[in-house]
Amino acid sequence: MMTAPDLLKAQEELLLDDMANRPARSWIADVFSEAIRSRLVVVGFVIMLIITLLAIFASHVAPYDPEEIIAAQRLSSPNKEHIFGTDHLGRDILSRVLYGVQTSLAVSLSSIFLGMFFGSILGLISGYIGGRFDNVMNRILDVFFGIPTLLFAIALSAVLGTGILNPIIAIAIINVPFFARLVRGPTLAEKAKQYILAARAIGADTSRIVFRYIFPNVIPIVIVQGTVSLSYAILIEASLGFVGLGVQPPTPSLGNMLNEGRTFLELAPWFSIFPGLAIMIMIMAFNLAGDGLRDALDPMMRGTR
């Protein structure tokens, strides 16, 4: 019967063996193959891909013009011509949903990228400088964490206005504290490590240290949080649209459609069912993909570092 230290040693040797004999691959390929292990995650990724393609090529896939009003066919239930039915102005719901998905993705992706970019830089700077500056920055971040997210989004919309650009700015602002705090932790941890001290000793300047050494350790966490935040951003964009503070009609937006559909809930349930279903599928797909990425990156970080 092997004792615990023996078992550990055996495991370690197996791992080292495996690492040594593995063909050289970029770490991206590694992450991907690890992520695809779970079938559910694959489903998530595939759906994500389909959604993205549909969103990009919405104008080619959509059977009708989403803003074309055909009064004669108002509120018609799903049939051969209109697979999802029509809304109260006779517009085809399938086309509107496709364009709505496009809007959702466009707004969410842009805002997350913006938030990720500025938030990470803030976190890196704050973590690296440390000391008083970091303390003050931490307190400021605390303030922003004390405002419930959706309320903050609504308040920012009041200040910025509606449209398609303003929700992007609002959601980006909301995400900056998340990414700043997220990045600050690993930055502080890495800063204390030996190799940073060594780099400084040989005269590496600050920007080189931050971008070439600390930043790569932060990327996996940022990407994982990015997918999670992305699904949340989709939800917030839809919520803002639902209360009328986001993209304005007649531009198709899933939240808007749910708002318009409220009045006709019993007359035309399809008006409310399909946009909401689209939101739900988007969020679930991104959550699945995000979960898979997280599970893939965690052992990666612990195992092969």
């Binding site: 303030v143 405002i147 419930p148 009041a158 200040v159 699904s231 839809a238 959550n287």
Partner: protein, 316 residues
């Protein structure tokens, strides 16, 4: 312990002050101010008139002086006057708060009532049918927008069961039955996402606790299995739940806005939306301050509670 409380109090006070600054700046930056609202679009704006109005409202003073006047008013309970209805903001808040409080309390109650037992059973029957179904539901619930869920619930109850919620709001003290009838659907809509979180958390916390030594000891002492699970393991699992109470409250404060919009409940969520549509900024400000203060205080209480339960945290 005392030092910990003092540190948390100071941090919370800083955060609250910071929030007042953010809310103040946010409202100042928003388009349209009281002078525009009072003058309307037809009054001719002469420089003398504007200067006079600015002096009257104290808007000619530097921004930080305005802030201190404003903060002083707030601390004395004067949250300003609504521009549209000329009522004190505090009064509007007092009218709307009970609705939202009832909604969120009911939602929290449902969340814990359903979430914890499901999580425990899910952990006990790991990977069996119940567990898998629960996990699928939890996962689906995370992606469910609460306003869509609300609409679907109304659809189902009105079409299949021919049941409609009562139209006007009564508090639970006036008429319990009608109040609950009114609130049950919105509370479920608001609570669903949190049920999913609680189920997942309870499940993983229980799975972590069950293999531990003290459970084995309790069993070997001859304790009934029921006492072991609910009395011992659950107690420690609940600690994890306390950590996410803050998150759940934060979500509910935001989610209440959309849920109240769907069910047309006259709560704080609807109040802030109305105030933004009408550009009635004192009300927006008041609601923001109230909700954020409440949120920060809840987090403070959770921190202290957690410090009591887990002594390691105190030396942070």
């Amino acid at each position: 312990m005392f030092k910990y409380i003092v540190r948390r109090t100071m941090a919370t006070t800083f955060t609250l002050i910071g929030i007042t600054i953010v809310v103040f700046l946010l409202i100042r930056v928003a388009p349209g101010d009281i002078i525009d609202t009072m003058l309307g679009i037809y009054t001719k704006r002469t420089p003398e008139l504007i200067a006079e109005m600015e002096a009257f409202f104290g808007l000619d003073k530097p921004l930080y002086i305005q802030y201190f006047y404003w903060l002083g008013d707030i601390l004395q309970g004067d949250l300003g006057t609504s521009w549209r209805t000329s009522k004190p903001v505090l009064e509007l808040l007092k009218e709307s708060l009970p609705v939202t409080l009832e909604l969120t309390s009911l939602a929290m109650f449902i969340t814990v009532l359903i979430g914890v037992p499901v999580g425990v059973i899910s952990a006990l029957k790991r990977d069996k049918l119940f567990d898998n179904v629960a996990r699928i539901f939890s996962f689906a619930a995370l992606g469910l927008p609460n306003f869509w869920q609300a609409a679907m619930m109304i659809l189902v109850t009105s079409l299949l069961f021919n049941w409609f919620p009562p139209l006007s709001f009564v508090t639970i003290f006036e008429n319990p039955k009608e109040s609950l009838e009114l609130m049950i659907l919105p509370a479920i809509a608001l609570g669903t996402v949190n049920i999913a979180n609680v189920v997942r958390l309870t499940r993983s916390a229980m799975l972590e606790e069950m293999p531990k030594d003290y459970i084995r000891t309790a069993r070997s002492k001859g304790l009934k299995e029921r006492a072991v699970i609910w009395g011992h393991a659950l107690r420690n699992a609940l600690i994890s739940i306390i950590t996410i109470i803050g998150l759940m409250v934060g979500y509910m404060l935001g989610g209440a806005v959309t849920v109240e919009a769907v069910f047309t409940l006259p709560g704080i969520g609807r109040l802030i939306l109305w105030s933004i549509y009408q550009r009635d900024y004192p009300v927006t400000q008041g609601v923001l301050l109230l909700t954020c203060t409440f949120f920060v205080l809840i987090n403070f209480i959770v921190d202290i509670l957690y410090g009591i339960i887990n002594p390691q945290i105190r030396y942070d």
